[in-house]
């Protein structure tokens, strides 16, 4: 296997005394799309600037095709194989054409060649009729497409995207995501997408990096992170809506159990030593039933709780339902499933297979402890 295209080793960055990034090792393979998923303030943008070679790390080094990237002006030739698309389009105050050919101009490409290379990208991104328009008159979507064209016309070896679509409204954003995916696939460009949106990260990424508090908490393919988060922190990041702090109970007839908010939950097995546990269940794995629904047969391998509905929030075709079972629980219901949406205060039954319960290793997100306290009080 060829070596990585870009590699970071022992990179550390501090801002005013605080460590914002610490990456012992991170590799970017040629042709892959790597997405960096992290909450706000995790150091995503800093990591992106270092990978883009536009910021030099305080400690550690970046390697390009196995060779250390020089510091100072000597890195310009390598830097020019990379480019970045930022959250805001950041267009220069000139025409669309002037912006799209800007990078080529920096590289000293003659005017005739610039026009020739720019044309296909203007067409592909639907900007042909706008070439002479000043950027101050563009809509948000047009501006972002201009910024996309400006990057792709450089035919970069590595394209970095820093939350590129978070300023667009949802339909424009989906449209841009699909356009981007298609272009990346057809050009085989190596790309790094930084985002806090897990759907975006899972949709585009061949591999996903979970970045939390400046550390790489987990790297893997999207399914890996989605289904097998390495820790409580990652579980929260990839969308485990239910995270419960629990206390392990002694084994009884070979079945592991734990106590959450005064109720007992059956576990597949305790992989975690110690009494304090963090349990995770995805909301879509929980089946919610009305109390008057026909009783399904009781299953040994199933957890089953009754509780009161506390909140109902419509989410697309689904209803997001929060239930108090002695501990807070969240599940989805499709609108068709119930002729009438449940109302807060209504009794409801929650069922989920024992195999869906995951014991998550530390580090845990900070507020999982609060969940437990809330649960116990109620």
């Amino acid at each position: 296997m060829p070596g990585p295209l870009v590699e970071l080793r022992d990179v550390e960055v501090h801002y005013s005394g605080a460590r914002v990034l610490s990456i012992p090792r991170l590799e970017l393979q040629e042709g892959e799309i790597l997405t960096v998923l992290g909450p706000n303030g995790a150091g995503k943008s800093t990591l992106m600037r270092i990978l883009a070679l536009i910021e030099e790390p305080e400690y550690g080094e970046a390697f390009y095709r196995g060779a250390a990237v020089p510091r100072g002006p000597a890195r310009l030739p390598i830097r020019r194989r990379f480019t970045v698309i930022f959250q805001e389009p950041l267009l220069a105050d000139t025409t669309v054409l002037g912006n799209v050919e800007m990078g080529l101009r920096f590289r000293g490409v003659p005017r005739q060649d610039r026009r020739r290379r720019v044309q296909p990208w203007l067409e592909r991104l639907g900007l042909s009729s706008l070439t002479r328009r000043r950027t101050s008159t563009l809509s948000g979507g047009e501006a972002q497409r201009t910024s996309l064209a400006r990057a792709f016309v450089l035919e970069p070896e590595v394209l970095l995207l820093d939350e590129p679509f978070s300023s667009l409204d949802p339909p424009a954003r989906e449209e841009m995501l699909l356009t981007l995916k298609e272009i990346l696939e057809s050009t085989g460009t190596t790309a790094v997408l930084v985002t806090h949106d897990r759907d975006e990260a899972f949709l585009l990424g061949d591999r996903v990096v979970a970045l939390i508090n400046g550390r790489v908490a987990q790297v893997g393919d999207p399914e890996d992170l989605r289904l097998r988060p390495a820790s409580g922190e990652v579980a929260r990041l990839v969308g485990f809506e239910n995270l419960w702090s629990a206390t392990a109970l002694p084994l009884r007839s070979d079945v592991s159990r734990a106590e959450v908010g005064g109720r007992q939950i059956l576990l597949p097995s305790i992989r975690q030593p110690g009494k304090d546990l963090l349990l995770g269940v995805r909301a879509e794995e929980i089946t919610l039933l009305r109390t008057d629904a026909p009783e399904a047969e009781r299953n040994e391998n199933e957890n089953r709780f009754q509780g009161n509905v506390t909140r109902v929030i419509p989410k697309g075709p689904l209803l997001w339902i929060e239930v108090d079972c002695g501990f807070p629980l969240v599940g989805f219901l499709s609108r068709e499933e119930l002729r009438k949406a449940p109302i807060p205060g209504e009794r409801i039954i929650a069922r989920f297979p024992v195999s869906c319960v995951r014991c998550l290793p530390p580090p845990w997100p900070e507020n999982s402890r609060r969940d437990r306290l809330n649960g116990k009080q109620e």
């Binding site: 310009l76 020019r80 990379f82 970045v84 220069a92 920096f106 008159t137 809509s139 970095l160």
Partner: protein, 200 residues
């Protein structure tokens, strides 16, 4: 012109760099924007006085002395307005230029291009300061006929002689000059705004 060559780079440097003493430097520049020409004249006279530190250069009462005074008056204005213009650009724009492969110098050129309107305002203000200035020119130039008598100092002289016809003629020339230069600059500045209208 010399004020531009000095003022724009210094303004950019102050806008783009963070260093200890920067706040003091910016304050000095801002004070300099309101520098009374008479004070400048006084200090330059002292420096260039035959017994002063630069007296050996024999510059007092020469066109060169006026030139120095004008630079000292206009440079802070240009610097201050450049500083303000560059600082109002989104700092991420600079990052974007770098990410598109611009060298350090290319980034600076693009930033100037991006702020061309406020920079022109700086040029106009600097020009306005220079063309209207009397005190310093009088003091360091000496208002010598055919050598350091400029339009403003000549106007002062003719007025004090009661020679209003000549004074008015000089004033008209002065006004016309100011008008012509500012008209040219304004045309450049406003050309673009029309084409961008209506804004969306």
């Amino acid at each position: 012109m010399a004020s531009l060559l000095l003022g724009i780079p210094v303004g950019m440097f102050l806008a783009l760099n963070r260093f200890p003493g920067r706040k003091l430097a910016v304050t000095l520049v801002n004070t300099g924007m309101g520098l009374p020409p008479v004070v400048v004249g006084l200090f330059i006279s002292i420096f260039l006085w035959r017994s002063g530190p630069l007296g050996s250069l024999d510059l007092l009462y020469t066109p060169a002395a006026i030139f120095i005074a004008q630079v000292v008056i206009a440079a802070p204005i240009v610097t201050g307005l450049t500083l303000a213009a560059i600082q109002q650009i989104n700092p991420r724009f600079q990052l974007q230029l770098t990410a598109l492969g611009a060298s350090h110098f290319q980034v600076l050129v693009e930033l100037c291009r991006e702020t061309r309107l406020p920079l022109l305002a700086g040029v106009m203000a600097g020009f306005g300061g220079v063309i209207s200035e009397v005190g310093a020119s009088m003091m360091v130039g000496g208002n010598l006929k055919d050598s350091t008598r400029v339009l403003t100092t000549a106007t002062v002289l003719e007025t004090s002689k009661g020679n209003f016809v000549v004074a008015i003629a000089l004033s008209v020339i002065l006004l016309f000059l100011a008008f012509a230069v500012n008209l040219a600059l304004t045309l450049i500045q406003q050309k673009r705004q029309r084409s961008a209208w209506p804004p969306r």
